[in-house]
Symmetry: C2
Subunit: 302 residues, 2 copies
Amino acid sequence: MSNPALSWIAVDWGTTHLRLWMMDGNDKVIARRESDRGMGSLTSDGYEPVLLDLVGDQLPETQTPVIICGMAGARQGWAEAPYASVPCAPPSLAQATRVATQDPRLSVHILPGLSQMSPPDVMRGEETQIAGFLASEPNFDGILCLPGTHSKWAHISAQEVVSFRTYMTGELFALLSGQSVLRHSIGQGWDDEAFLGAVSEMLSRPAGVAAELFGLRAAQLLQAQSPDVARARLSGLLIGMELAAARPYWLGQEVVILGAAGLAKAYETALNGQSAWCRMVDIEGITLQGLTAAHGQLTQTR
Amino acid sequence: MSNPALSWIAVDWGTTHLRLWMMDGNDKVIARRESDRGMGSLTSDGYEPVLLDLVGDQLPETQTPVIICGMAGARQGWAEAPYASVPCAPPSLAQATRVATQDPRLSVHILPGLSQMSPPDVMRGEETQIAGFLASEPNFDGILCLPGTHSKWAHISAQEVVSFRTYMTGELFALLSGQSVLRHSIGQGWDDEAFLGAVSEMLSRPAGVAAELFGLRAAQLLQAQSPDVARARLSGLLIGMELAAARPYWLGQEVVILGAAGLAKAYETALNGQSAWCRMVDIEGITLQGLTAAHGQLTQTR
């Protein structure tokens, strides 16, 4: 049974998860679906069946465009969408990789990520968030901060990504709080003062991080430091180290933080503590906005 | 069946493993045994059976001293051996915790670790290596570097540990090379030039570590950087960051590296690259030497 209102499908296909939106016209969401069949669990012939599982019963007989961003375009993904190299605008649909499918009802486009040769760096997925942000604020000139597993800082000017840098902050936090000796000392709570103190320490003495990390364990053993303080301090040490390295990005610049509520708030608190001026834009919807911008290019070129 | 020559037992009981030596007189090794029944896998009533499994058939009817260092003395170990607080000499047998056993043939002594209140820090096991080193070089005045999972730097003067600091360098290396996104980029080989380059970068700009780490992944994707270069660079970034923080310890000081051959050599290479003067002392035997020094104190006080 086909749904006559479905006009295209937007997909954010990451390493561990995918999110998908069924769209009516250019920008009306009919339905949203999620799955844990991320790139990490799939071989290249596994993508089409996952897509058909999620939307097959809704596909009309006419061909439906599927516009994908994220790790599905990696070399080990569905099909490689070679990086566009900065400085450049976030890749348009014209740069997308077309993928042949068994099912003739699908017309699949995978958007490329961005690369930078010096220093070497890559992104896949964030370029579409940046495109989504620029769709709302085309004249933005300044810095985007995209906190996450691999936090990105990007310099945006004249609708282009001029340069960017990735910090493994979120992955370090996950490894240290979940799998290192510190897991015994880290709780689920929070303490703003401990967080800000740790951020300041790292901005002054970033080299000390490996000792301050072990100090979280020692402070629990010797001073019964609370697990909530330890968690806030761990976050502050790692975000503080990132801010110390990213200082040329944020010092004296307009910074917009694109991130999930809790984490974006921590970055805002840290930057405000350094008298940096920043604002947050909710990430929810930004990726879809970027995919929608790409779909708009499809309509234009038809 | 008893072995009349067994006079005492030396044990290095760590988190994941234990090593044990059966001794004749003060310092003659009869046999060496190993087990993976470390502190992490035992509750407090599990230690005596492990010990009896390993040496029970060799115990004479008379009581045999068992001298233990390491995590068996932690709060979650066999019995807590409260930390001695620096500045102080490595703990002597008089400071050891006596543990009652079911088997009357055992007389168990657990040596304390060391603690430092400011900045908060702890060690368990390394204090006995330091005691072993000082047994050979009682007049040493300088810096000991003990690389490992949790690398220690200790300032030694007048046979005391004046201060020390722990860096999570080895654990970070294990987590990043084995469990992070970098695991795909890291090989088993080595490259001295890449290692020294990364050490120098971190000594100049330690804050950048989280970006340089992700750069290992990007350099593989964009420049086909070899997995051996990536491994040496990862090691250099982490050891370089440790050296940047520990600079007040090593700058203009005599440094002795107490460590396993490969890792100690990397630290020596890194320090020599900074024109620091250091020498290596083989770690094999140092722990036993420290336990033997403690046993010598038992004989004296009998």
